[in-house]
């Protein structure tokens, strides 16, 4: 990875700074002097950044590889700047960023699972982009849940890169066979329950639903929207306390526990660590389950599937606005060039002709309906959900919710595979971890 300009002593940096000064006065902010390692590069005059033929480095995690690759390819084809993208295995990403941060070896641009962004902003790994983001003509139309997740101490550090929303996928063929109306997906948890059970009754290898029962990240992604849909919070505003044993949350767990008890769930749910959970629905043997919206474009052609928002116990709808946000690393000396990519990636051309064309969710609410999505109404459903969705904020998110040995997975499994009797205690453990 040690390409281009990573090793910088103070001397080297002084030279860079001097060169930049000569090149353009507007670049001053992007090239600090001395040992100042704080966030730099805010409030550049040019909202579009610089396209001067620089070579930029960028990291992303494997989970969102197709989306990143498509954007980078399209950018490189039409710009003088060239981005060299490195895809890192998803499970190693945190460790890799951590190690690189320690040795000041971060690339110019790096994306991150949006829930881990607060770790990076609070540690000063990203450059401050407040001025640049606010100067975008469509700043207010960007997926606000990502912007919020990337705001620390009033400053904005990231923009949405790829959006991944949790939505219900349901198999219309199985719905027809079960005598259900394929155009009437559930609008409450109770309807979802009834429909899953109706499909499950078909028997012969068909199951009602499926979920990743040994995967904390899956639980957060697919269960929380049902809680949010009822207007119930799961975390406090600072992300330091959990409210995961509320009456609403209990109703959600009870429904899932009922599915487990009555064998409505496809086999393997209890063991599913998240590696294969999205591979079950495409086989066409599951009636209805929450899925990541990024898998919509990857579904088999012959599978007649419908998309619907995840409902709460008594109606309402919500989604987990996941995916990756991206920022410029605080140590990059090419902030203006890097911003050129970010600003372009959020523009109409990239959002419609690259993102929407790949059946992915656009990062701007004003582009929710576009020429590609109008051909596939399911995409409009997903795009419009961005406004109803949330991205939870907590500094200790990973170690509390994603860690396979963390307290949230214990809560999940006790609540759904156990009798749910230890919810209060488990919730306290989650809070303790958040406040750690």
């Amino acid at each position: 990875m040690g390409s281009t300009t990573r090793s910088r002593g103070p001397m080297n940096r002084l030279v860079t700074g001097a060169l930049a000064l000569l090149a353009a006065a507007s670049l001053v902010t992007a090239c600090g002097s001395g040992d100042d390692s704080g966030p730099r590069g805010s409030g550049s005059a040019d909202a579009k950044g610089l396209d001067d033929g620089s070579k930029l480095t960028m990291w992303t995690r494997a989970a969102t590889r197709p989306q990143s690759e498509a954007l980078v390819e399209a950018y490189n084809a039409g710009h003088k700047n060239k981005i060299e993208l490195t895809v890192v295995p998803t499970d190693d990403y945190q460790a890799k960023v951590g190690a690189a941060a320690g040795s000041r070896d971060l690339p110019d641009l790096f994306a991150s699972d949006v829930v881990f962004v607060p770790n990076y902003t609070s540690s000063g790994l990203f450059a401050d982009l407040t001025g640049r983001i606010d100067a975008l003509p469509f700043a207010g139309k960007l997926a606000q849940s990502h912007i919020k997740a990337g705001t620390y101490d009033g400053k904005k550090y990231v923009v949405p890169h790829t959006l991944d929303l949790s939505v219900l996928f349901y198999n219309k063929d199985l719905y027809r066979k079960a005598g259900l109306d394929p155009e009437k997906p559930p609008t409450t948890l109770a309807e979802w329950d009834a429909q899953a059970r109706a499909v499950d009754a078909l028997g012969s290898g068909v199951d009602g639903t499926f979920f990743g029962g040994n995967c904390g990240g899956c639980g957060v992604f697919t269960w929380w929207p049902s809680i949010w849909a009822a207007g119930q919070e799961v975390l406090n505003e600072d992300g330091t306390a959990a409210d995961l044993d509320s009456a609403t949350a209990r109703k959600v767990y009870d429904t899932y526990r009922g599915w487990v008890r009555d064998d409505i769930v496809a086999p393997g749910a209890k063991d599913e660590t998240g590696t294969t959970w999205t591979g079950v629905f495409p086989k066409g043997k599951v009636g209805i389950m929450p899925m990541p919206s990024t898998t919509l474009g990857l579904m088999p052609k012959g599978l007649d599937l419908g998309v619907a928002p995840i409902p709460g116990p008594d109606g309402g709808k919500s989604t987990f606005v996941g995916g990756d946000a991206i920022g410029i690393s605080a140590t990059s000396d090419k902030a203006d060039q890097a911003w050129n990519f970010l600003a372009w990636s959020l523009g109409e051309e990239a959002q419609v002709d690259v993102v929407a064309a790949h059946k992915d969710v656009v990062a701007r609410t004003d582009l929710a309906a576009n020429k590609y999505s109008s051909a596939d109404p399911r995409q409009v459903t997903v795009n419009q959900l961005v406004a109803d969705g949330r991205t939870p904020y907590a500094l200790k998110f990973g170690q509390t919710f994603n860690d396979p040995n963390g307290p949230w997975l214990t809560l999940m499994r006790d609540a759904v595979f156990g009798d749910g009797g230890s919810l209060e205690k488990d919730n306290k453990a989650v809070t303790a971890s958040l406040a750690d």
Partner: protein, 291 residues
Amino acid sequence: MRVSRTIQGLGYAAPTALFVTVFFLLPLLLVGQMSLSDWPLLAGDRGTNAPENYTDVTASTLFWPAVRFTLLYTALVTVVLLGLALLLALLVQESRPGAGFYRTVYFLPGALGLASASLLFWGLYSPTTGPLSRLPQHLGLADDPVSFLGTPTSALLSTVFLVVWKFAGFYMLILLVGLQRIPHEVYEAARMDGASRAQTFRSITLPLLRPSLALSLLLCVTGSLLAFDQFFVLTKGGPDNSTVTVVQLIYREAFQRMDLGTAAALSIVVLGALLLLNALQFRGLRHADES
């Protein structure tokens, strides 16, 4: 003459000394310093906080269960693995037709990396995509796919099976070398004296095999106490935190909780425990030799 020989000696030793210093001593010192410091993964060294990291180690609710589990796993693996390895070595020690073939076959899994082997078994065990979990169902022995990693006991046994499959051939090789070092004359003498097969095994094979057994025991115990890859890939410490090993805790401290200080403290504790255990094993084995 003497001086030049000394210089020559130092010269020969220098590459190794340099290697050990750069790749072992210096990192060890760094880990030591880390263990005494508040050292978040993302923010770097924030100064001394001793002995907080060490008290944090034992305060974790996962620590003692992990210690217990690691010891249980080590005992189980060592007994099964070395027992089977000895059996295999005895089976293929004679130069009979086909012995070479079986030696190769038994050793073959050892040529695989542990992480790759774990991934292979993970795929085989998987209830959603693996072939093994549905086999009993197809044979009419079970109603549902079998969950190899679904309960604490099955997860432990499935992992032990993988490790035995992977390493039995390796330990067989060590024991085979030991077996072939035992002089034929001793066996002949025993036969002349009318010793039975069991007596020969107990009074000749086992005692003379002791150095090889000791080496196997030491390697196996140390390796098992440091178990990580197989559990990281197969179970991630689950189900319900039942298969968390001590090294997994180190990984968790460093890369889930992003606290290098506590991870370093835990590493030092594990290092100390291993040194102690190895010293005890050496002493025990030496005693046995002298008696």
